[in-house]
């Protein structure tokens, strides 16, 4: 199996402090740390096998992406189905919505077991990357 997300060496990093956020119903209404997401960066993060690598599980109508996953729902038109805040919570911590979920929590550090040393204490994506993804997915309305 190709690593879900390949090791980008983070060794020796300092302890990571997460931006605090507020959950309202099934959404995080405000952007993490007030950051502004860039949809074009989000599109790259989603596809990049060493960063988001979301297409290992999800699919998207994009013929240039040959190998896509079928473990999660297709993301086409996601911006029409979910609000930005709903998309944000699903990326940040899907476990809050479904404790049996397969969808990794991309912005969470606690409650994890046997994390490889180079990733300990760090979220999978940083706040800016999460916001870039939210901006991109919210723009998928077709």
């Amino acid at each position: 199996m190709a690593a879900l997300i390949l090791a980008t060496s983070l060794e020796g990093g300092h302890a990571f402090s997460l931006e605090p956020y507020r959950v309202v119903a099934d959404a995080i209404p405000e952007p993490l740390g007030g950051r502004v997401g860039d949809p074009r960066r989000g599109a790259r993060i989603l596809r990049d096998r060493e960063v988001g690598n979301c297409l290992i599980c999800h699919s998207l109508d994009d013929p240039s992406e040959r190998f896509q996953g079928e473990l999660g729902p297709a993301l086409d038109g996601i911006g029409a189905r979910l609000s930005e805040g709903q998309i944000r919570l699903r990326i940040v911590d899907s476990l809050r919505l479904n404790e049996a979920t397969l969808m990794p929590s991309y912005y969470r550090v606690e409650g994890l077991r046997r994390v490889a040393p180079q990733y300990r204490g760090k979220p999978i994506l940083d706040a800016q990357q999460v916001e870039d993804l939210v901006a991109y997915l919210a723009s998928l309305r077709g």
Binding site: M1, C57, E70, L71, R113, V115, A116
Partner: protein, 252 residues
């Protein structure tokens, strides 16, 4: 006989294959790879089997017996052996897989230094011995002294782990048959190992494969021959009980 309505309804809903059904690795292969695995003349892993036979017959030192010196013709004496591993070693109480049993013979009976996990010699010998059980059903024991190892392996399999926080069971029980990028997820039975993997361009052990899955979820990778992977190997072998030994298999 009339079934109660609720039961009849349940029977209609249940698909023919239930989620609990564990299928052999070859069922998930592309037709090309399956054909390669079944054609010994083209199977790249057969090179390791041939080398294993050489090591089997080689005298390690002047006054020491070869493997064949004690065990004779492997086609007879080693038939079915691999289907019973991992097993608990009576003398030491340790759980041994085939690799570690071979190393034990090498050190204690041949008085030689261990080959080392993942060395060409150990991979070749393991492939050669496993090959003698090809297509025989897996039959490991999990009772008695094996029970605590089995329980630990089963717990590990079902525990979320790593930065991606996924359990083995979430992929290999719940999502077998689905695509993860270019792979089709199998039931993750270990019966094909040592296997020839295209990605490795070589034969590698089950523990090497397990290290790849650990890395995939960004979890701690345990050492070759570590207790954690041995326990897991016993659970995987029991989960595959009755399924045919496929080693040496061909994998992506």
């Amino acid at each position: 006989m009339r079934l109660p309505a609720s039961l009849a309804a349940l029977l209609l809903i249940l698909p023919a294959a239930t989620a609990a059904e564990i299928r052999p690795g070859r069922d998930f292969l592309s037709p090309e790879l399956r054909a390669l695995q079944e054609d010994e003349a083209r199977h790249p892993g057969m090179l390791w089997v041939e080398q294993g036979e050489e090591v089997w017959r080689r005298t390690p030192a002047l006054d020491k017996p070869s493997c064949a010196g004690c065990h004779g013709d492997a086609a007879g004496t080693m038939r079915g052996v691999a289907t019973r591993y991992p097993m608990v070693d009576r003398a030491s109480g340790r759980l041994l897989n085939l690799e570690l049993r071979i190393e034990q013979c090498r050190m204690e009976r041949q008085g030689q230094p261990a080959f080392g996990y993942e060395s060409p010699e150990l991979l070749a010998l393991t492939a050669y011995i496993a090959y003698q059980s090809r297509s025989l059903p897996m039959t490991v024991r999990i009772d008695g002294a094996a029970a605590p190892f089995f329980d630990a392996g089963r717990a590990f399999f079902h525990e979320r782990q790593g930065q991606l926080n996924l359990a083995c069971s979430q992929c290999h029980d719940d999502n077998a048959g689905r695509r993860l990028r270019g792979d089709v997820i199998s039931n993750g039975v270990g019966t094909g190992f040592p296997a020839y993997r295209l990605e490795w361009n070589a034969v590698g052990s089950l523990h090497r494969r397990l290290r790849a899955c650990s890395l995939g979820v960004r979890a701690v990778q345990f050492d070759y021959g570590s207790p954690d992977y041995l326990n897991l190997e016993l659970y995987l072998a029991w989960r595959a009980r009755g399924l045919p030994m496929e080693a040496p298999a061909v994998r992506r």
